[in-house]
């Protein structure tokens, strides 16, 4: 009986160490491998563009999705792109074919601003 108990304790300890090692191993993965690259998506939520600044290579298509209950737009200050009014869950996409910095805002709520840096 004593042997059975000690075997069980040893097994549990081994399992615990292995599990802890797995977690530690996961934590040591490179940051790039952990973060899902989702750089072409801009979420409109709570009256803000997220991320506020996006860096993308030339030729990238950026998609804005309105997750707010309020309609929004995405309009570049130099009129390079201009979405229609986006209701909840509606999307707008634009492909950036030239490098540069594109400042944009919501024409209904001009306090909402963002930037796409095309490299």
């Amino acid at each position: 009986m004593r042997r059975v108990v000690s075997t069980a304790v040893l097994f549990a300890a081994t399992f615990g160490v292995a599990f802890a090692g797995l977690r530690a191993g996961a934590g040591s993965l490179p940051a790039a491998a952990q973060q899902k690259p989702d750089a072409t998506e801009v979420k409109i939520d709570n009256f803000s563009f997220g991320p506020a600044e996006l860096k993308v290579p030339v030729g990238t298509t950026v998609t804005w999705t309105n997750h707010d209950d309020i309609p929004h737009t995405a309009v570049s200050t130099d009129k390079t792109f201009k979405s229609k009014v986006l209701d909840t869950d509606e999307k707008f996409s634009f492909t950036f074919s030239k490098p540069g910095t594109y400042e944009y805002f919501c024409s209904i709520h001009p306090k909402m601003t963002g930037r796409v840096v095309v490299q």
Binding site: F47, S107, I108
Partner: protein
């Protein structure tokens, strides 16, 4: 592209800032006018009735620039694109509210021009409906403007 609503340049040049500023005047004037009119009816007080009339006069007057700036905002900020959802509801209810405010004002004006005519009692029902309309329109406008949003 930061916009400060208390900056004069912003107020004058921002494409829909004027509507957001002006809209508060007819709302307040009309609500107060209706309150005075109900009180005047209840208390049989001519001073309150006169106060109601002049508030209504100003409220009706203010609807003109408010509707104009609202339509201008639609044309400038959204380039006149086809509206839907909350924006469309706000536009339609706003126009109806403006018309009803004018109807209420004209009822008062008519009674005032012909001292023999007393104000019809049905105006109170119309005023109550108008207050509701204005309230819903204002609520939608506040929702759209993001006054509850961050910053």
């Amino acid at each position: 592209m930061s916009v400060n609503p208390f900056d004069l340049k912003t107020v004058v040049l921002a494409k829909h800032a004027q509507h957001v500023v002006l809209i508060h005047f007819p709302i307040a004037l009309f609500m107060v006018a209706v309150a005075f009119d109900f009180l005047a009816q209840w208390a049989k007080n001519r001073s309150l009735a006169a106060a109601a009339y002049f508030n209504l006069l100003l409220a009706a007057g203010f609807t003109v620039p408010v509707v104009a700036t609202g339509l201008a905002a639609w044309q400038w900020a959204l380039e006149g694109q086809k509206l839907k959802g909350i924006l469309l509801m706000h536009l339609v209810l706003g126009c109806i509210s403006a018309v009803v405010i004018w109807v209420v004002f004209l009822i008062h004006l008519r009674a005032r021009r012909h001292p023999g005519n007393s104000l019809p009692t049905y105006r109170l029902s119309l005023e109550a409906v108008a207050v509701l309309l204005v309230g819903v329109t204002a609520h939608l406008g506040g929702f759209l403007s993001g006054v509850n949003g961050p910053g």
